[in-house]
């Protein structure tokens, strides 16, 4: 049997027209950016490549692992399956916008450090942003609630236990601090 692997599209069908660029305005960690992006351009690529905020990682590019998690108008989303044009007009928060300043860690980051809620650190930015959202919604979660909450995000290293420890610790610190 002979099979030819057919190419998908002819040259003419590829959209290379610069006119296909779409103007967008996004505010990332408090700074407003005006950009022109292709319709297909992913939010994660705008953050990582155009704005050079490389703390947002990708683990699957398929919307499964949660490694690319950012907050869009306060809610966590998967930036690998969010188009940049969908973020037009939105407020985006990435891991770079979590710590109050260059010398101080956010209490969640501090708790992750003390409890070793990370090993390779690759899932960590998405995990920290997800934990922040969980604690905003429920400042005093049980371990089971934390597990359910972070089950949106995969971590291959830690087995999650110390992430749960860190989240509970962060909740306590934040309760003391407020």
């Amino acid at each position: 049997m002979t099979a030819t692997h057919e190419s998908a599209a002819g040259l003419g069908e590829i959209d290379t027209d610069p006119a296909a660029l779409h103007p967008i305005t996004i505010t990332v960690n408090g700074t407003t950016h005006r950009l022109a992006v292709e319709g297909r351009r992913l939010l994660v690529d705008v953050l990582r490549q155009d704005l050079r905020l490389t703390g947002t990682h990708t683990g699957c590019d398929q919307g499964v692992c949660g490694v690319c998690t950012v907050r869009l108008n306060g809610a966590t989303v998967r930036s690998c399956i969010t188009l940049a044009v969908q973020a037009d007009g939105a407020e985006v928060r990435t891991i770079e916008g979590v710590a109050p300043d260059a010398r101080t860690l956010h209490p969640i980051q501090q708790a992750f450090w003390e409890k070793q809620g990370l090993q390779c650190g690759f899932c960590t930015p998405g995990m920290v942003l997800r934990v922040q959202e969980i604690l905003e919604q429920n400042p005093c979660p049980t371990r089971a609630q934390v597990r359910e909450g972070i089950s949106s995000n995969l971590c291959r290293c830690t087995g999650y236990q110390f992430i749960v420890d860190a989240t509970v610790e962060a909740a306590e610190r934040m309760a003391e601090g407020s």
């Binding site: 905020l53 710590a99 291959r156 290293c157 087995g159």
Partner: protein, 818 residues
């Protein structure tokens, strides 16, 4: 390193755990973490070089097909495209990838397929463009004509098939076959009261770090220098293999290590992305980044785990005493066999586990099929080996009506038998196994759980308890890769697995450690190095600077793998520190005009014994070493720097007839895992109710990060036992390719692990440390399998195949219902 063939005359008796250390044994916060927590880790895909291009690889849709033609003309004209390299073109310009398997010329392994594709996902062309979007667009414009062949999928059938071959030049699909016999197996079997037999299946899995394998090649056409920024390949002393593939002199290649989001073994042998990025940089003269996407990684990452079919026989006495063990294993290696059967060498390091078993037979057949080839995954073959042994032990306990904890206890190697040689020849350096079992049983409240279990079962709930007692060999020796072959067939009988470090103490006494192989893979290389150096110099680990050096001009180093890193860094840093401290002592003695022997190191400086106010701090002495040449003893060089290459702590050579493989994996830890599960008979789901893990890996360096390794490895073991499987259909099509269908555990799938520790120091390593990085995954599959058996004992179910997915469990229940 000792390379004698005599036994263990040079192995000192185990020492008592030492408790007088400043940093070792403390749960220090990791020095790597602040940057990672801020998203400033600089993983390889975060790096941008000026003028950098991006690569995408076109992959075979067929498991087995001849490449008739590859037409890339339309792709070459596509927007943004700078170069396209097809498989046939690559074969003309670049050499094969480094392959230490048997007869590498008969199953030539290339970065792109040249004449035939051997599995779905094998690369056939690379496109390089200004950005990844354009590279992927252009990839779809390449026309490949294939002559599709019958796929070779079932390894059992493939082993017998001489007509349809994955590699015609090999003349068979069996890349390697050998039977080793250690001791008088026939006699022990004849003498035994009974023989328990099992047929077991360990499914194909893969490590799946969340960060894939990636590299940036940066070739300087003027100098001929090739720099590759890479998150894989830790083995400095084997980097010449990549230079050969790339056709450049070995001393013009520099592999620069980058941190990576996990490896678990999978990045150890990953030549492909490094070579892909480098060859395309050589062709274009510009930096080229190649980052595997998840599908690239799954289908073509060279890192699938063991895929084994076992026949196991255990000969034993009616009182439960084990006598002999026979293992016959077919391993489906996929289309290539890059490291030979090293993963069976690994299993042979602890083939009889923690038990007194006097003889063993081990047969392996390594079969090639049209699938992605194997790499390393946490356990490297000893994962499957431990599981198979623990399965047969459970079957023996069931047949004799013995409690699974009791049958294990009566067979454990007693503490006075160490150092202990198992039948294959490997030496276990030290151990005290029964306290580990007792500790675990008590921590779990085994008797209490047994009572609770009966009460819950009386209510109709399917509750089961599983126990394993198993070993974790650590610090591999290179002989495991070649003792499979007769001496005459081994071109270089490699015995080195070096780990080099350089250390400096600067003018003001600040310490820097340079590592030569060790990309940070989540395994705390920097924290470990900082703690070990801090222990030597009485500084704070947070103040130690750790540098990662590239391969070019570097010391030899083998990096993480086989749970060796902490042990090897301890040896190297202890050695380099001693050189520097000896020099500091000479300078101090000279300056203080006292005899060197009268000085002692106390709290970060040298003082005359007992005279605290005579102390010269490391900073004072460093100032002299760098700035006051006239204060140094005659002939003493300025500065404070030392290199040290630590090699394997205890390697002995295999006997020529291979009746004894020598000692190659000698730092042997032990663990007991206990688990209680509930199985839902209708859905087949397994709920973990309680989980205890007690480990003994010798001296603990950083207990919190050690526990992190245990719980992380245990979680991977849960995935191994219950969910993860790389499946193929009968035509060789992979049935999983994403995290939607390759199910790595979520936070809801894994237990809270209740940890316990015992510490039996190694007599042959610095500080008595043994490795522990793989330990969790080496234990959990056996414990969970046993617990499922126990839960479903009314149905007569035994877990003989992993993963024990819900579908399989329901099928087993239905099968037994008839």
């Amino acid at each position: 390193m000792s390379q004698t063939t005599d036994s263990h005359a040079d192995v000192p008796a185990p020492m008592a755990p030492h408790k007088d250390m400043k940093w070792i044994g403390k749960s220090v916060k990791r020095v790597e973490d602040p940057k990672l927590l801020r998203g400033l880790g600089r993983y390889i895909d975060d790096v941008v070089l000026p003028g950098m291009l991006h690569a995408a690889v076109l992959r075979s849709p067929h498991a087995h097909a001849r490449i008739v033609s590859v037409d890339a003309e339309r792709a070459r004209r596509a927007p943004g495209v700078v170069a396209v390299l097809t498989g046939p073109e690559a074969a003309e310009q670049f050499g094969p990838l480094p392959d230490s398997g048997p007869a590498p010329d008969k199953h030539v392994w290339r970065v792109l397929a040249a004449d035939k594709v051997h599995y779905v996902g094998e690369g056939v062309a690379v496109v390089v463009a200004e950005n990844r979007y354009q590279a992927e667009d252009a990839r779809t414009l390449i026309d490949v004509t294939y002559d599709v062949l019958e796929p070779v999928v079932d390894p059992i059938a493939a082993a017998e098939d001489t007509g349809n071959l994955v590699h015609e030049a090999l003349g068979t699909n069996v890349a390697y076959e050998r039977t080793f016999t250690f001791g008088d197996v026939a006699h022990d079997f004849a003498d035994a009261d009974l023989v328990v037999r099992d047929r077991l299946r360990w499914g194909r899995q893969t490590a799946h770090p969340l960060d894939t394998t990636a590299a940036i090649g940066d070739y300087d056409a003027g100098t001929g220098e090739m720099v590759v920024h890479t998150n894989s390949i830790s083995m400095t002393w084997l980097a010449f293999g990549a230079a050969v593939a790339l056709g450049i002199p070995s001393n013009k290649l520099d592999l620069r290590p980058y941190i990576s989001g996990g490896s678990f073994g999978s990045k150890q042998f990953c030549w492909r992305s490094t070579v892909t990025a480098a060859m395309m940089s050589k062709i274009t003269g510009r930096p080229v980044k190649y980052v595997e996407d998840r599908l690239d990684h799954q289908l073509n990452g060279d890192q699938h785990g063991s895929d084994r079919y076992y026949d196991v026989e255990l000969a034993l006495m009616r009182d439960g005493t084990f006598r002999s063990l026979k293992i016959d294993c077919v391993d489906d290696y996929g289309a290539y066999i890059q490291f030979g059967v090293g993963s069976h060498g690994n299993a042979l390091a602890q083939v009889t586990g923690p038990y007194r078993i006097t003889s063993t037979e081990y047969r392996v057949r390594a079969v090639l099929t049209n699938k992605t080839q194997q790499g390393a995954y946490r356990g490297f073959g000893a994962d499957a080996g431990n599981w198979a042994l623990e399965r047969i032990v459970d079957k023996a306990a069931a047949e004799l009506g013995l409690d699974p904890a009791d049958i294990r206890r009566r067979n454990l190697i007693p503490p006075d038998a160490f150092p202990y040689h198992i039948p294959s020849g490997n030496m276990y350096d030290s151990g005290n196994y029964e306290p580990v079992l007792d500790h675990a049983l008590q921590r779990f409240d085994y008797d209490g759980w047994r009572r609770k279990q009966e009460a819950m079962r009386a209510e109709g709930r399917k509750i089961g308890i599983g126990v394993v007692t198993a070993n974790e060999r650590s610090v591999y020796g290179a002989t495991e890769f070649w003792f499979w072959f007769d001496d005459k067939d081994v071109p270089v009988k490699t015995t080195s697995t070096p780990e080099g470090v350089s250390m400096t103490v600067d003018t003001v006494g600040a310490v820097t450690v340079t590592l030569y192989s060790t990309p940070f893979w989540g395994n705390s290389s920097d924290t470990v190095a900082a703690m070990l150096a801090a222990e030597e110099f009485d500084v704070d680990p947070a103040d130690v600077s750790v540098v990662h050096h590239g391969t070019k001009g570097g010391l030899p180093a083998a990096g993480p793998g086989g749970s060796r890193l902490t042990v090897m860094l301890a040896g190297a840093i202890t050695g380099a520190s001693k050189k520097i401290k000896d020099k500091l002592r000479r300078i101090a003695a000279h300056d203080m005009e006292v005899d060197e022997a009268d000085l002692e190191w106390v709290d970060g400086g040298y003082q005359v014994r007992g005279a605290e106010d005579s102390r010269r701090s490391i900073g004072d002495l460093a100032m002299l070493a760098y700035l006051v040449k006239t204060a140094l003893p005659d002939g003493e060089e300025s500065g404070l720097a030392a290199d040290f290459v630590y090699d394997h702590p205890h390697l002995t050579m295999p006997k020529p007839d291979r009746s004894d493989l020598g000692s190659f994996y000698p730092c042997v830890g032990h663990a007991c895992h206990l688990v209680a599960v509930e199985v839902d008979e209708e859905t087949g789901s397994v709920d973990i109710l309680d989980y205890v893990a007690v480990h003994d890996s010798g001296t603990l360096v950083n207990p919190r990060s050690y526990d992190g390794q245990i719980v992380g490895g245990t979680a991977q073991g849960v995935g191994t036992a219950l969910a993860e499987e790389m499946t193929y259909d009968a035509a060789g099509n992979p049935l999983v390719g994403t995290f939607w269908d390759y199910l790595i555990p979520t936070a809801l799938d894994v237990p809270e692990v209740n940890f316990g520790h015992e510490e039996t120091p190694s007599p042959i390593t610095a500080h008595g440390i043994k490795g522990g990085g793989e330990a969790g995954r080496l234990m959990a599959p056996g414990a969970l399998s046993a617990a499922i058996d126990d839960a479903l004992r009314d149905h007569g179910v035994r877990v003989t195949e992993l993963p024990a997915t819900p579908e399989r469990i329901v099928g087993w229940i239905q099968g037994h219902r008839g």
